[in-house]
């Protein structure tokens, strides 16, 4: 694929009209995976640890993967937001 095609579409924002969709979506983008990952771990704790059953260990692994995976990509995303704001 041509490198130019991999670039992102440049936009002209209309600041006074509406709040941009990506800004409205950002809290969900960051928060929901962390909540879901926590639910997995909590469910493992309730049914696996308290219920003394190893069948739920997979939920712990998935919960950890979801949380770590998301934090790994959310951190640079949030950092990029700060840098661009300072530039402005």
């Amino acid at each position: 694929m041509v490198k130019k095609e991999m670039e992102y579409v440049k936009k002209q924002y209309y600041f006074s009209k509406i709040i941009r969709t990506e800004i409205l979506f950002t809290p969900l983008l960051i928060g929901l995976p962390l909540i879901v990952g926590s639910f997995f771990i909590y469910d493992w704790y309730i049914r696996g640890v308290i219920g003394n059953c190893t069948a739920y260990n997979g939920e712990l692994i998935l919960g950890i993967i979801i949380i770590i995976g998301n934090i790994a990509f959310d951190m640079p995303f949030i950092k990029s937001l700060k840098v661009l704001s300072k530039k402005k």
């Binding site: 992102y8 879901v36 937001l81």
Partner: protein
């Protein structure tokens, strides 16, 4: 007296003055897709099952309608942040991403769907970052092991032979899906569907190999929390 309209306008201008890096936004969006695994944790009760039946297709339908409106010019592409140049006149990759996830959730066993979704949501951005920073050789090696890992952790309850077979086939399938590019079919679809189809073939063959199916990794919750 405080003018509420002016204050709201100021707040909008302040919020909209924030700017995102499209590259990292796209990566975070990919990782966000892992949230859909909550589908398997939801309790097995009538009302929730009804929601599980209808909400995912409605989300996909909404996404397809949005995309049709964008491609026909009825909604400006300005509202679709992080689009690549090649997606300007083509169906956006997020549509492929959503369609593949719903196919996996609805028509594939959990043991196949979970690692394939993880390959797209976490494996794809990891491979993308490796591709940006290192050579393609690293993409093949690290990408394969990352995807392989997702299959191992999902099939850890299976027979050792099955774990090895599934992780190698799944890892290779995901890697082929990610590296093979078509203009009309996005890699977000391929990275999920190629390993899923390969694993489905193995899945059908499991009884013929004299092995038993592995237990599910996520059981429906009783919602006591």
């Amino acid at each position: 007296m405080v003018n509420v309209a002016d204050k709201l306008k100021d707040a909008k201008i302040k919020i909209n003055s924030l700017d995102f890096d499209a590259h990292w936004y796209r990566r975070a969006f990919h990782a966000f897709g892992a949230s859909f695994l909550i589908y398997y944790l939801l309790p097995d009760v009538y009302l929730i099952n009804l929601l599980k039946l209808w909400i995912p297709p409605l989300i996909v339908l909404f996404v397809i309608i949005l995309e049709v409106l964008r491609l026909t010019g009825k909604i400006s592409s300005d509202h679709f942040f992080g689009l690549r140049m090649y997606e300007k006149k083509r169906v956006g990759s997020y549509v492929f991403f959503a369609v593949a996830i719903i196919i996996l959730l609805r028509f594939f066993p959990q043991q196949i769907a979970i690692p394939c979704i993880l390959c797209a949501t976490l494996g794809d951005p990891i491979i993308g970052e490796i591709r940006r920073r290192y050579s393609m050789n690293y993409v093949y090696i690290i990408g394969f092991f990352v995807c392989m890992y997702f299959f191992i952790i999902t099939w850890f309850k299976a027979d050792v032979f099955l774990i090895i077979l599934v992780s190698i086939v799944g890892g290779l399938g995901a890697l082929i899906g990610e590296t093979k590019k078509f203009w009309w079919l996005d890699d977000d679809f391929m990275i999920q569907m190629i390993p899923a189809i390969l694993l489905l073939i193995i899945w059908i063959g499991i009884p013929h190999l004299g092995l038993s199916y592995p237990d599910v990794i996520i059981s429906s919750s009783f919602m006591h929390w």
